[in-house]
């Protein structure tokens, strides 16, 4: 059972929808179509199969969590969804569009509706934290400067970094970088948010706050795909979980279903507390 959470970070349900955010019925693909679908995705690096015939679908407004030991292809799966990697075989659909076939401009349109938190945050180190969060807004909205700054500050406040707008990424701790990366990923209020180990490197309280933020985003209709080793976090945030092992999906279902899995590795993994 999840502990009670009283996070100081919170999404604001009354916040108006910004740049390009659309109601789910208006989204490409329409209602009923999964927000994300992978069909038989296979990817190898140096003759090592990292993903082997992976298929999954994620319904709109739900959270899908990818579990697995390090190096089992979880981050690679996220990169396929946003089109940073192309599968050797298989197809990846986002809102009904096959991102493996899209031209650059069409892919950019799809990416505008997505946010991506990288495993190491990947903040632009020549920009301040605030500029990092403001960057997607500058590129993809015609908002005046004061509105961009206000929105960037609000996003940073959501992740508990309200006072760090003018700091450089090098001046932040690992956990703070992670939160700044999450703020940047949320800047355009994306329909789909891909988060790679959101609570890694965070203290338990801040980790809980981030989990609450993700739950609040999900309630607002954001589709989440989360990679984590933190099982309590996965139980709290995710509607459906899948476990990857040696490139294959060895289990999929709700947390309770994975708890009762026939596979001993899955049961062991689900019993672990995880280290974030």
């Amino acid at each position: 059972m999840s502990p009670p959470r009283e996070g100081r970070v919170a999404a604001r349900p009354d916040e108006p929808a910004p740049a390009g955010r659309s109601a789910s019925a208006d989204r490409p693909g329409g209602q009923g179509e999964p927000a994300i679908r992978l069909e038989g995705v296979t990817k190898s690096f140096d003759n090592r199969k990292v993903l082997d015939d992976i298929s999954l679908d994620v319904s709109e407004g739900t959270c899908f969590c990818l579990l697995g030991r390090s190096g089992t292809g979880k981050s690679v799966t996220l990169k396929h969804i946003i089109g940073l990697m192309k599968p050797d075989r298989g197809r990846v659909f986002v809102h009904g569009k096959d991102v493996t076939e899209l031209k650059r401009r069409e892919l950019s349109d799809v990416r505008r509706s997505m946010g991506f938190l990288f495993q190491n945050a990947a903040l632009f180190d020549s920009f301040t934290v605030g500029e990092n969060v403001a960057f997607p807004l500058r590129r993809h909205t015609d908002w005046p400067e004061h509105k961009i700054r206000e929105t960037a500050k609000a996003k940073l406040a959501d992740v508990g970094l309200a006072d760090d707008f003018n700091k450089m990424p090098a001046d932040l701790s690992g956990g703070m970088k992670k939160r700044a990366g999450l703020a940047r990923a949320m800047a355009l209020d994306p329909d789909i948010l891909l988060v790679d180990e959101p609570s890694a490197g965070l203290d338990p309280i801040t980790g809980d706050e981030i989990d609450e933020l993700l739950v609040a985003l999900k309630k607002k209709g954001t589709t989440l795909v989360m990679v984590t080793h933190n099982i309590p976090s996965a139980r709290h945030v995710a509607d459906e979980l899948a476990m990857l092992h040696e490139g294959k999906m060895i289990a999929r279902g709700t947390a309770q279903e994975l708890d009762r899995s026939d596979n001993a590795l899955v049961r062991t993994f689900m019993r672990s507390e995880g280290a974030g």
Binding site: K79, I82, G83, L84, R104, S108, D109, R111, R112, M114, G115, F116, F118, Q119, N120, A122, L123, F124, D125, F135, P136, R139, H140, R184, A187, L188
Partner: protein
């Protein structure tokens, strides 16, 4: 034996081919919207303005040294009066452009290679793509264009500082007046000497920018790879500049023949 010599040669040629394709893609993308004017201006300032002290100092020193060497040679023939003209001709036609390009390749090429290499290994380039920004256009095309724009300007600064350096050396040795030096220096120089030689540095700028960006974008193996990219960027662009300079000089002589 043939295999031992041939394999590295083929690898080097393949590398040059890949850099050339990268450069051609940059040229094509430079003419396609959206245009990144602000980034081009920012990088031109970074590359141009911040290289100015180095280029001006080097140009001044080379002008002074060339003047002293030229005097030592021409004195034997009693042709000291030709020193300013000879110096100006050498600086404007060859020494200024080549030295500027090599210095910029050291300062800027290494910097761009290391910066983009670090961005690559820390996934910042992927992060740009993830926020729907064309990383090639935003990072590579803008820097290549900035190099192309900055090199001719920096070369002009090197030429001017070199001529001033030559004057200072000449004035110190022979007491020649500035007016006489200036008149003699520009007695043989025409715009047809200055324009092609200076514009060829735009090609050098293209080489420096393209090589550095290509190596930055293809960096692997963490911080060690970043260091290697930085070094390779300087070595590869310097070699290409020196080799392509031969072709460009031949081309300039063909298009603008020297009048007898």
């Amino acid at each position: 034996m043939l295999e031992r010599v041939g394999a590295p040669m083929l690898a080097a040629l393949a590398g040059v081919g890949e850099v050339s394709l990268f450069g051609l893609r940059a040229i094509r993308e430079a003419f396609r919207p959206p245009y990144e004017f602000r980034e081009v201006v920012r990088h031109t300032f970074e590359i141009g303005w911040k290289s100015t002290p180095l280029i001006a100092t080097a140009g001044f020193a080379i002008g002074a040294v060339l003047s002293m060497h030229t005097r030592a040679s021409l004195e034997r023939f009693g042709a000291e009066a030709m020193i300013p003209a000879g110096l100006a001709m050498a600086l404007v036609r060859e020494t200024g452009p080549l030295v500027t390009a090599l210095l910029v390749s050291g300062r800027v090429g290494a910097g761009i290679g290391a910066e983009l290499g670090a961005m690559k290994v820390t996934e910042q380039i992927d992060a740009l793509e993830a926020v729907a920004v064309d990383s090639f256009k935003f990072l590579a095309v803008t820097r290549i264009l900035a190099c192309v724009l900055a090199l001719p300007l920096l070369t002009t600064i090197a030429d001017v500082c070199g001529i001033i350096g030559g004057y200072v050396a000449e004035a110190a040795i022979s007491g020649m007046s500035w007016q006489l030096y200036f008149n003699r220096a520009f007695s043989l120089i025409e715009f047809r000497d200055f324009i092609p030689a200076t514009l060829k540095t735009a090609v050098f700028g293209m080489i420096i920018g393209t090589v550095a960006c290509y190596l930055g974008f293809t960096t692997t193996q963490g911080t060690e790879g970043v260091g290697r990219t930085s070094t390779r960027s300087v070595v590869m662009s310097s070699i290409l500049i020196i080799v392509i300079n031969v072709v460009l000089v031949r081309l300039i002589f063909f298009l603008f023949p020297v009048r007898s």
